[in-house]
């Protein structure tokens, strides 16, 4: 049973922001795949602002290598729009693995980010594309990097009066890109470990490497020291081996030793190694 809330269905962004400003304790709903489950499990809620009808929020635009994804664009759209397949393959691959067809038709990229689960599939690919979020309230518009936006598992910097309106990423032309995860089963599973990568190579050398590891630490993260280490190095097995060890060290540095690492670290190592080898 859902709590007895009152909902509004604004059609413009201004209307939505005005509601958020005046109501104070409103919860924003888009696809509802996370929020309604939480409510059924007992989360209380008195006011709901449903943003699925807000004009413009479901738009996707591409301009000069910059891709702006509206916050209510669904996972289904991200995984099937050809231009994203070309310009941000890791993201479209990741969104195509989320939940089930029904969940992908309902769930949105904004919802995935605001919910900020450590296992959210869309976060790692957005990290390697240096995603910048547009966040609006009635009186202010601000931008924040995705890295700063998520401050703890299931916790973001979003204030109650604010709305995440879009995510901006840069295309990475020339990079080979991908997303891989392990899960208990192929469909309808929470990802247990994931790696997103974008790698630029030239004549057997790593020119630029971007990696993001999901589900292993409280928040998906970029192992920056490893990216730095690989820059300009020849693509040979010992270098790749060293990079893989560095990744596991970074994970240990963030979380300390965990019982699950007996399983997780070898799997991460394998995923990273495959990503680097290509």
């Amino acid at each position: 049973m859902l709590p007895d809330f009152v909902s509004v269905n604004p059609e413009t962004k201004e209307e939505a922001l005005a509601f958020l400003d005046s109501i104070g304790d409103a919860r924003v709903i888009a696809g509802g795949t996370d929020l309604l489950v939480n409510m059924k499990r007992g989360e209380s809620c008195r006011n709901v602002v449903d943003i699925m009808n807000v004009e413009g929020l479901n738009r996707l635009s591409v301009n000069d290598g910059e891709i702006v994804i509206g916050s209510t664009v669904t996972h289904a759209a991200i995984s099937t729009i050809t231009i994203l397949n070309d310009m941000a393959r890791s993201l479209s691959a990741a969104c195509g693995l989320i939940g089930s067809p029904q969940i992908r038709n309902m769930g949105t990229v904004g919802g995935n980010l605001v919910n900020a689960s450590p296992a959210a599939d869309s976060i790692s690919p957005l990290l390697i594309h240096d995603a910048i979020l547009s966040i609006e309230s009635k009186d202010e518009t601000r931008e924040e990097t995705l890295e700063n936006f998520i401050i703890a598992p299931y916790e973001t910097s979003l204030k109650p009066c604010e709305l995440l309106t879009s995510v901006c990423i840069k295309a990475l032309p020339g990079y080979r890109e991908g997303y891989r995860r392990t899960a208990k089963r192929a469909a309808w599973a929470i990802s247990r470990l994931s790696v997103a990568w974008a790698i630029l190579e030239d004549e057997g050398r790593f020119v630029d490497v971007k990696l993001a590891i999901g589900s292993c630490t409280p928040m998906p993260f970029r192992p920056r020291s490893v990216e730095e280490f690989l820059r300009g190095r020849t693509k040979v097995d010992p270098t790749i081996g060293e990079a893989v060890v560095m990744v596991t060290e970074e994970i240990r540095k963030i979380t300390g030793d965990r019982p699950s690492f007996a399983y997780k670290l070898p799997v991460v190592s394998d995923l990273v190694q495959k990503a680097l080898r290509g």
Binding site: F5, S7, G32, T33, Q102, I103, M106, A187
Partner: protein, 157 residues
């Protein structure tokens, strides 16, 4: 309360719904469409699947107010006992129905697939029904039924 107007199985309908009302309950209680079933209630089993604008959605996690102005289809759209849809016939002929609890949702996911892709491969079929659980058949018969029906049916929107 909110007034919602939508197209249900090809007919224009409207009704009053509570703000917190789920589409699942609107369909079952206000429109007596009992083919839409509540299994898990949290978006994991697929027995509550309906098509919204021809794409499968979980009605157990869809607020009824969301379908205002949209097109909703349940399995009743496909056919009835006297006029079965080729997809329904194929399910029967392949033994893809045992207890039948998953069947309406399964048929809708399959129907949505066939609307977009008249000749799906095995993996496409499996992917399309991956959000619908069946605890009886083991899926093989269901995949076969959808493949058999693909050649026979025209799935209209």
């Amino acid at each position: 309360m909110k007034n919602v107007s939508f197209v249900l199985n090809g007919k224009r309908v409207s009704c009053e719904v509570q703000d917190r009302e789920l589409l699942l309950h609107t369909l079952r209680e206000r429109f007596s469409i009992k083919s839409v079933k509540e299994g898990c209630g949290i978006g994991e089993c697929g027995t509550c699947t309906v098509l919204i604008d021809n794409e499968p959605h979980y009605s157990c996690l869809t607020l009824a107010s969301k379908v205002n102005g949209h097109d909703v289809k349940t399995v009743e759209y496909l056919g009835d006992a006297d006029h079965l849809h080729p997809l329904q016939k194929a399910f029967i002929e392949s033994g893809a129905v045992q207890c039948g609890y998953c069947t309406p949702g399964m048929l809708l996911s399959a129907y949505s697939l066939l609307m977009k892709n008249g000749n799906p491969g095995e993996n496409e079929i499996k992917e399309a029904i991956s959000g619908n659980l069946c605890r009886c058949t083991g899926y093989i018969q269901i995949v076969e039924a959808i493949r058999d029906a693909a050649g026979l049916c025209k799935c209209k929107s």
